[in-house]
């Protein structure tokens, strides 16, 4: 039989690549089917393991126990104020580091002397564990609200600066040079080209570091806290309320997911040219 390129016999007679082809297509319905599978299977497994008689509830509470704990936390234990104070701490620490990291990242990514002064230093500090700063933070900042914010700041700021500097450095040189040959001043090149061009990447960096800020919540609420989700998890540990630990962890995950989606929504609204369907 003559064989021509493109007429190679395939398993499927239609010739359309299946979903298991490398980077193959997946329809919307199929996507949601798989996504639901990915989310529900662990839940089912959890249910199965926790309901088997051999597993003590202290080690592994079932989904229903966790749900009931969520309700009692909400009704008797001020769940909403715990969520509120934790969201406040994370957001404040995160916003503080964003406000400082943004101009610094812009400067590091634009001017080589600033990069030379700040980047090696930042690289060094970011490997220091945020948890280890707790005694220092208590000594310097005290045990007020600001200390929790400070911990979250330390956990996110240095990574954020470096990532933002990298975002700024990725702006194509041709974009900057084109502006210069149109008569742009240095300030105009930074403001109208570099910053504008880097904006989508910067927002993505904010989204990613927001997630990291949440991972520092429990650490932050180690410092003389009396409320908050992280604090509640720590307290539940002392009383062996495993179900409450579950609720707390799941809540942090859920809030993080919601915030992530909000950032993605903002990205679509703010940068429509990146989300065009061709």
């Amino acid at each position: 039989m003559l064989s021509r390129p493109g007429t190679r016999p395939r398993a499927k007679s239609s010739g359309k690549p299946g979903m298991w082809a490398i980077r193959g297509p997946l329809s919307r319905n199929q996507y949601w089917l798989f996504a639901a599978l990915g989310l529900l299977a662990p839940l089912a497994l959890w249910w199965l393991v926790s309901s088997s008689a051999s597993v003590d509830k202290v080690f592994m509470p079932g989904p229903l126990d966790v749900y009931h704990r969520l309700i009692t936390w909400y009704v008797d234990d001020n769940l909403m104020s715990d969520i509120g104070i934790s969201v406040y701490r994370v957001t404040a620490g995160f916003a503080l580091s964003a406000v400082i990291a943004l101009p610094l990242g812009l400067l590091i990514g634009t001017f080589r002397p600033v990069q030379a002064v700040l980047e090696p230093l930042t690289d060094f500090i970011r490997y220091m564990p945020a948890v280890a700063f707790i005694p220092l933070v208590m000594l310097w900042v005290g045990i007020e609200e600001s200390s929790k914010i400070a911990i979250i700041f330390i956990g996110t700021f240095f990574q954020m600066v470096l990532m933002m500097a990298e975002d700024v450095r990725r702006v194509p040189l041709a974009q900057i040079e084109a502006a210069q040959t149109m008569g742009a001043t240095r300030g105009e090149s930074v403001r109208l080209v570099i910053f504008q061009s880097a904006k989508p990447a910067l927002l993505d960096t904010l989204r990613v570091t927001m997630g990291w800020a949440w991972t520092y919540l429990v650490v932050a609420e180690l410092v003389a806290a009396s409320s908050g989700i992280g604090y509640s998890i720590l307290k539940a540990q002392r009383f062996l309320q495993t179900d409450k630990i579950f609720v707390g962890i799941l809540l942090i995950g859920l809030i993080g997911l919601v915030m992530d989606q909000l950032f993605r929504l903002a990205h679509r609204k703010a940068f429509p040219w990146l989300h065009l369907r061709s």
């Binding site: 194509p172 041709a174 974009q175 040079e177 040959t181 149109m182 742009a184 504008q196 904006k199 040219w273």
Partner: protein, 277 residues
């Protein structure tokens, strides 16, 4: 007075042991409204020379004059068109073309009549470049050829007297490139900028230029300057005339000679011999 005057220009990259002489003793005058193309083997410094004229890089010796003024940094009198990635993806086509209007330089000393004229100019450039249908598109919705039309229109917006083009059609397919050639010749006739154009495509270099400057590498220098023996009004058919083909052959041969890669045939022979053994 020449529009661009390059006098004994040299350019050295790096220091000490990493010192590379990118350009050596370049002298060239480009007349007002002249169209000059630069060709040469890779590493001959043709792009570097163009960027020095544009003020995006600095020569380490000699002098470059544009409009009789020494070049010290980029300026709106010398607009540049790049091979790619120079459009602003967050701006629609019309906003890209009008970008220079946002700059202080473009706003200074303007009467309201000037502003109106500028608006008319943007529309005129849009039509000239055949971009009317794309006015509200974002750059990433356009083909490579259309993107370069926008880049050219944007560069022309500020009425630069000198237009520098660094392999502007290098990423386009052959058919699109031919269309762009006639378009840029049309622009040259209409707007009368002085045009310095770097390319690796010899046919393109001859078809567009009044003079083709052939540069040679190690160190980058001007090897030969070829006046193009074609009528000022170019047509695609001229590419098949004997004088065009003869010049193309001559330039290609000279590029091969100056590229320093004479070993190609020798290497092949050697490989063949090894295989025979």
């Amino acid at each position: 007075m020449p529009k661009i005057s390059i006098q004994q220009v040299g350019k050295v990259f790096g220091e000490g042991g990493h010192r590379v002489e990118a350009l050596k003793d370049i002298s060239l005058d480009i007349a007002d409204n002249e169209f000059v193309t630069f060709v040469g083997a890779s590493g001959c410094g043709k792009s570097t020379l163009l960027r020095i004229i544009g003020g995006l890089e600095y020569h380490t010796s000699g002098e470059v004059l544009a409009n009789g003024q020494p070049v010290a940094g980029p300026g709106a009198d010398r607009a540049m068109v790049f091979q790619h990635y120079s459009l602003y993806p967050w701006l629609r086509v019309m906003e890209n073309i009008k970008f220079s209007r946002r700059l202080k330089h473009g706003r200074e000393n303007l009467s309201s009549a000037d502003v109106e004229a500028a608006s008319g100019r943007a529309d005129a450039l849009l039509s000239l470049m055949g971009l009317n249908a794309a006015v509200d598109a974002y750059p990433n919705q356009l083909s490579g050829g259309m993107q370069q039309r926008v880049a050219i229109a944007r560069a022309l917006m500020g009425r630069p007297e000198i237009l520098l083009m660094d392999e502007p059609f290098g990423a386009l397919d052959a058919q699109t490139r031919e269309v762009m050639h006639d378009l840029i010749l049309h622009v040259h006739r209409l707007e009368k900028p002085t045009l310095a154009f770097v390319t690796h495509d010899v046919e393109e270099a001859i078809y567009l230029a009044d003079r083709v400057v052939l540069m040679a590498p190690r160190p980058g220098r001007i090897d030969t300057i070829y006046p193009v023996p074609l009528p000022a009004e170019r047509e695609q058919d001229m590419k098949h005339t004997p004088e065009f083909l003869r010049l193309k052959k001559e330039i290609l041969a000279r590029i091969r000679e100056t590229s320093g890669m004479k070993t190609d045939q020798g290497m092949l022979d050697q490989l063949n011999m090894q295989e025979a053994v």
